[in-house]
Symmetry: C2
Subunit: 421 residues, 2 copies
Amino acid sequence: MTQIESARNNELTPELLQIAEKEGISSEELRKKVAKGHVVILKNINHKNVTPIGVGEGLSIKVNANIGTSHQRSGLAEELKKLQIVEETGADTVMDLSTGGDIDATRRSILSKSTIPLGTVPIYQIGVTSANSQESFMEVNKDDILGIIENHCRDGVDFITVHCGVTKAVAQCLEQNPRVTGIVSRGGSMHASWIKKHNRENPLYEYYDELLDIAKTYDTTLSLGDGLRPGSGADAGDRAQVMETIVLGELVQRARNAGVQAMVEGPGHVPFNLIKGMIETIKTLTFKAPLYVLGPLVTDIAPGYDHITAAIGGTAAAAAGADFLCYVTPSEHIGLPNPEQVRQGVVTSKIAAHAADVARGRQASIEQDRLMSAARMNLDWKKQAEYAIDKNVFENIDDGKPCTMCGEYCSMKIFKETVSF
Amino acid sequence: MTQIESARNNELTPELLQIAEKEGISSEELRKKVAKGHVVILKNINHKNVTPIGVGEGLSIKVNANIGTSHQRSGLAEELKKLQIVEETGADTVMDLSTGGDIDATRRSILSKSTIPLGTVPIYQIGVTSANSQESFMEVNKDDILGIIENHCRDGVDFITVHCGVTKAVAQCLEQNPRVTGIVSRGGSMHASWIKKHNRENPLYEYYDELLDIAKTYDTTLSLGDGLRPGSGADAGDRAQVMETIVLGELVQRARNAGVQAMVEGPGHVPFNLIKGMIETIKTLTFKAPLYVLGPLVTDIAPGYDHITAAIGGTAAAAAGADFLCYVTPSEHIGLPNPEQVRQGVVTSKIAAHAADVARGRQASIEQDRLMSAARMNLDWKKQAEYAIDKNVFENIDDGKPCTMCGEYCSMKIFKETVSF
C-alpha cells in the first residue's frame, strides 16, 4: 500500500511516525493530512537508507537542491561532491537533472548515496536518449515515455516531475494568448513541441492512468510540473498558466482517487504584489495539494543574484501557503552552478524557508531566532554559531567582545553596561 | 527658504523640477507632496555639486549605503574607495558613520567628492569626541550636542539622523517591558544611557526647537532615528517601539510646522508576517512622513547573509509603503564591511528596491523587466547586459547560444525553433 492508502486505512506507518516526531505534530493529525493528500511522504519503497520527508500543510517548509550532469559537464565525481554539499548544508531533498554522460548510472549512484529523498525529471532522459540514437524527440511514443519513467521508479526515485498538464487545450490557449517568454520549462517546451508536431494529446495526459499505475507500484510521488509557469513577470498569472493549473487540479484528484501521492509545482517569475493571491489560487484550484515552487523570482533583471530574487519570492510564497522551495543558485539564467554556488543556493533557500516558518508561527523556528538573539545580546559568539544558519561566519571574533562593525560603540555593550534595565 | 517652505509658497525650485523630470511625475504633483511633507528633497544649501534626491510617496524607492571609518580602521583612502563603489553601483545616497581618525576631515572630504546626498549621525562624533578628551559621554550637554550638529549642517550634510524620540518616557516604557535585545541602535543606547544617568529628558527632545532652527538654516532634512527599533524578531512591534513611533509622529508635525523637512527611520528585525501592518502603522502614526528602513531583517539566524534577510524584508516593507532602504551588507552583525561587501550590499538593496517598484506598479521598472525578458527569450546576451542590475555577469556567453545551464535543452531555444506560436 502507498502512504496515502495506509493513512486512509488508519495505519500509522513507520515513515509517518518518524515524520510526526520530527515535525512536532501528532501522528493522528499527520495521518489525516496524508489521507486527504494535503501532505505527501517522499519515500519510494525501493529507496533504501533514505530519511522520509513530509511535505505539505502544517509541516515545516522544505528545500530542494538540483544537481546533475549536462552535455558539457558530465563527471559523476562532481555530482557526488555536489550531493555531499547539498546534504551537509541541510537541503531536505535533491533532484538529479542529469542530461549528460550515463544518465542511468549517475542516477543509481546518487540514489545509493543519498540519505535524502531524490527526485528526477524523466522526460529529460527521454529527450537525451532519442537525440543520442539519432532519432528526434518528436518520434517518441507513450511506451518510450512510460518505459523510462518506470525505470526511474523501479530504481527508487522518490518523486518525479511529470508535465501531464501541458495538454493540447492548454498549448492552444498559449498560442491564442502570446507571452513575452513563451515556455520556460524544459519539459513543458518538449511536450508542447511534440503536441504541435503531431496535433495529438500529450501522452502523459492521455495515458495518465498508466502513469498512476507505475507511481502506485513504487509509491513514487508525482510532482505535477507547471510546464506553462511564467518565465517573466509580464507573463505571471496569465490565462495559459491558470488553465494549466486547473488541469493540474483534475490530475491531483485522479491521483488521490487512485491511491497515488501527488504534489503540484508552481512558478516561476512573479511580481511581489501578485504572489500571495497566486499561491492561494493555486492551492484552491489544486485542492490543497502540497505546493512546490521554483522561486518565485520577484524581478527579471537580476541574473547573477537570482538566489536572492528567489528568496524574496520564496519567503512570500511560503508565508502564503507554499510548502516546498526549489533552490535557485546565483548562476540561474547564466550557467550550470559550480559546487560553491550550489552551497549558496541551499543556504539562501533555507533562509527563505526559515523566515516563512517564523511567519507561519512555527514555534521551533521562532525559538531558534530568540535563542540566537539572546546569544547576540550576550556577545556570546560560540552560542551564536550553534543557532546560526552558517556557523563558519564567526571565526576570528573573541567571545565577550563586540565585533568590528561598531567596536566600543556596540549598542549591546553600552546597553548592558550603562542602561541595563 | 527650505524646500518645504518653497513648495508651500507655490514655488517650483530647480531641485524639484529636476526630481519631477527624473521620476516621471508632474512638477505640480511633486510640489504638493513636498508641501505636505510626504516627500523630502535631500539637498543641503551648502552641498555643492550634489544631485538632489526625492524620497517619499509616489517616487521610486531609494537606496542608501553606509560607509565610514572605525576606531580599528580609519583610512580616508579606503572610505573614498567605498564612496566610489557606492556611487558606481548606483546607491542614491551615502551615510558617513565615521567613528575613527579625524572625523571632521573625513566628512568634509567625502562631502567634497560625493555627487549623491550625504547623511551623518552626529551623535557618534559627540561620543568619540568626549571619549578622546577623557570625558564621559555622560557629561555632554545640549550645547555640545547642538554644536556638533551645527558643524555637520554647516559643512553641507544633506540629512542627519537624530534620536529625539528616545525620550525619558519611552526609556521608562522599555524598562517596564524588557526585551530580548534591549536597544540595538548605537545612538539610541547612548541617549538612553545619558537619560538613565541624569534622570533628565533627552536634550534633543527638550531642545528640539533649537535643533529645528539649525536644520532650517541649511535645509538639512531630519531623519528621526528609531532608537528603540527591534533588534530581534521577538521584540518587533512591542510597546516601547510603538511609543517611540508616536513621539516621532509628534516631532514630524513640529518639523513641518517649523518649515523643516523630516523623514522617519524604521526597523530593524521584523518577522515577515508583521511587516505590512507595521509599515502601515508607522506611516499612519507619522502622518505619511517618508519612511527610511534598515532592513527589516526577517530572521535573526542568518549572520553572513543579512543582505539577503534584509532584501526579503525590504521588498515587503517598500511594497507596503516604505520609501527608502538602508543597505545591509553580508558583514552585518559580524564586522565592518570591506569594499566588495559594500558593493554586494548596494546591489542587493537595489534588487529589493526594484522588486518593490515593480510591485507598486512603477511603469519604468515593469518595462525594464519586460525588455530584459524579451532579450532573454532571444538569447541576446548583449541586450540582457543593458537591462541587468549587474552587466558583468554575462561574460563568456556567446550571443544567440544558450547558456550552460540547459545547453541544447534550453526551453527558449526549443520553444522558438519548434513551438514558435
